[in-house]
Subunit: 448 residues, 2 copies
């Protein structure tokens, strides 16, 4: 891991403060970007491993700030269902049937897809049990991840997943002690209450305190559906965003997935408190939830990131598909000029970094940051012509595909080279995933 | 071309009347599917070329019933612009600047993308000049295409593209005589008035007659924006769909792209007359046009196909991206159960075949039909697990990507093998496309 790495000859979309696009080399040492610019033998101490990036495009790795790796094995098992059936008949029973082995297999499959598709960092919500097995998978496969055990203590939860608050919080704290900062800081813990209706007020308040004490972030869902909004209103008397704020779930160290049903007051509150909103456009369409008012949130100064959510409601974990859809989906309502490509690429890089509390460490290609980089081959006909004035950022957002990713570096380590995962055996991941998916399906009593 | 071809060992999504999914071989002779089932040496006369499809998925080739190949070179030159600026500042000047060489290059680039991504047949609208050059490209590269010269005779059109009706119709008839049925029937002509506001009533009536006489279809845009609707209403006193009908642009041999702004009367009329609607969800989002009421049209019995439209308003020509979006985009309005995967795959295969007037020839894998087939490798982690009950059609619509296409057969000819285009040199296509795009941009006075 200590040998320097040189990406030579690529075109860099740096996402630095000036949003510069440069023809430059990137020198990486000890997991960090040492230099962006022309590198010759004199400027390099130890001879680096060199990857020829001539003709290729280098981006900061994409960051997806809302993923459920534990659901990757449920892909395709819950399509075209109403949200109620989706949760009650599929997601709850399948999550309850998880074992350490299936959690590990699910994380490996999802992380492999993410890395091969150019996502280098995620914010992940696991299920209530076996979260350590997900961290073990993430440790070995090399993805940067902030992950947490799901918390569900309210009486309304299905028995198979409900846990008493004290036990759930103790396990969370133990996991935080074990994993927060592990793998040289690449892995971090988050406290992850499922969503307001599944948690009691005391649990949410305790989560806020624990996260504060441990320097961890809070990761939850908010305002995904009108039903959820109405439930919170009925049970607490508050709008959901205001309620979450009242129990301490707000601010720069909080990431709220979805935020589809947020009014002007809610948007103003999110902006004022610098709470991170995670836009999940595919998931919000597939479950029929709606389209989040992201352009309004950006205009109000909100922090916004993007995410694929879990495999059963997407069904890909594809940062490029989410970027493209985030650019497209708001235009019918607000006009074709909203959410231009450059803005969307910010959400998928800098916005994600900020949601993970890592804006000083990742999200752009600048000397001193951790080396999370992806290298794209945009020579395919779908991303051509390149030389007629087409903007490179537009090509990345509207034309590029996950399959265009050639090389991926996370924390200075080559995890994908020439489109091949280097940190795990993909055929073994596939075989294990299929075996565990069969077992889960039987255990959950699902006919397919 | 006479040597038989055998696709051995794949899993077939046949799209036949019973929507069977079979483990079977496909034997192809003289451009047609000879047999679907177990083939052994005794059932085959001449020893066939064999492609081992073990572990792979075989589909009917996707059909996209609204494409502008002449715009492929404009990809990325017109992003995040209002529709008025998009047309007036970019599309009109660029189309006017086309030469035979640039039309050919644009068609080759687009056709290469389409074939590599699993689209085997298209309905194409060219610009007003050099349509023969597009047919020459289509003839050589091997895509199945129905294409037509764009007709724009109304005084409101930009001078650089406007043509007198008689000259435009004479050239159309000449092109029809030359290309309708060429390449063994693989190429066909369509009459292609741009859209109602760009054409005079007499031209539209003449188009209807000419198409009838020559057995060709009519391909136009309809009801894409409220502005268009209002213009037609003001100028003709009719709703657009009713107006088109009154001049003979309706019925099974007509394909209307978009149909975003159609009310219940319009839907009933489209259904009654069996007019083909072409759903272009990415384009309708990117230009801010809206979301077409496709589920309502399907419920009313309308014929519906899908299409990517042109590269500048998408920016891909990707049948898988359009299928996925067609499945997702209607759910927030009508619920997650609308537009299930199986229905969407019908639009992209059988629906497209019908829009092209080729329902007896393509759109499904059945003995006797032309051999337009694609072979997918769904082993990638984004389409796994496969063996937990996930439905194969759901995997194709929600998870599969254009990049998963391994082999493509059109009219019995292998046009893509192992992901490589066999009928043209992709690096030459790219180089020519870039050279012509540079020239077009300068000629159109576009700064990029």
């Amino acid at each position: 891991m200590n040998k320097p790495l040189l990406l030579r000859g690529g075109r860099l979309v740096t996402m630095d403060g000036a949003r510069r696009i440069l023809d430059a080399d990137v020198l990486i040492e000890d997991g960090r970007i040492k230099k962006v610019g022309r590198s010759d033998s004199r400027t390099v101490g130890q001879k680096p491993t060199t990857i020829d990036c001539t003709g290729l495009v280098i981006l900061p790795g994409l960051v997806q700030a809302h993923i459920h790796l534990c659901q990757t094995l449920f892909r395709g098992l819950a399509d075209d269902l109403s949200l109620e059936n989706w949760l009650a008949k599929r997601i709850w029973p399948l999550e309850a049937a998880h074992t350490e082995d299936s959690i590990h297999a699910s994380a490996m499959l999802g992380a492999a897809e993410l890395l091969l598709g150019g996502t280098t960092a995620i914010l992940d919500m696991e299920t209530v049990r076996h979260t350590g097995a997900a961290f073990e998978a993430l440790e070995s496969i090399g993805l940067r991840a902030t992950a947490g055990k799901c918390l569900m203590d309210a009486p309304s939860n299905p028995k198979s997943l409900r846990e008493p608050a004290d036990r759930a919080l103790t396990e969370s704290s133990d996991l935080c002690a074990r994993w927060h900062g592990a793998a040289g800081g690449r892995l971090r813990y988050c406290f992850a209450p499922r969503f307001a209706p599944s948690c009691t007020g005391p649990l949410l308040r305790a989560v806020s305190d624990l996260a504060e004490q441990s320097g961890a972030i809070v990761h939850t869902h908010a305002a995904e559906t009108p039903l959820e909004l109405n439930t919170v209103k009925r049970e607490t008397g508050h709008d959901e965003i205001a309620y979450l704020d009242s129990v301490g779930i707000s601010g720069p160290r909080t990431a709220l997935a979805h935020c589809v049903w947020v009014d002007q007051d809610g948007i103003a509150r999110l902006a004022r408190q610098e709470t991170n909103v995670v836009h999940c456009p595919s998931s919000n369409l597939k479950l029929g939830s709606g389209v989040a008012p992201i352009p309004e949130m950006l205009a109000a100064g909100c922090r916004v990131a993007i995410g694929a959510d879990g495999a059963p409601c997407n069904n890909r974990l594809d940062g490029f598909a989410e970027m493209r859809l985030a650019a497209l989906v708001h235009k019918p309502r607000l006009g074709p000029e909203v959410m231009p490509a450059a803005r969307v690429l910010e959400l998928a890089t800098l916005g994600g970094a900020r949601a993970l509390g890592l804006e000083s460490e990742i999200g752009s290609i600048e000397a001193g940051k951790r080396a999370d980089l992806i290298v794209l081959d945009l020579d395919g006909p779908h991303a051509q012509p390149e030389d007629g004035g087409a903007d490179l950022v537009s090509r990345v957002v509207y034309s590029a595909r996950a399959a265009d990713v050639r090389h991926v570096v996370v924390d200075g380590r080559i995890v994908v080279r020439d489109g091949v995962l280097k940190t795990a055996d993909l055929s073994k991941i596939r075989a294990t995933a299929n075996r565990e998916a069969r077992r889960l399906r039987r255990a959950a009593g699902i006919d397919g």
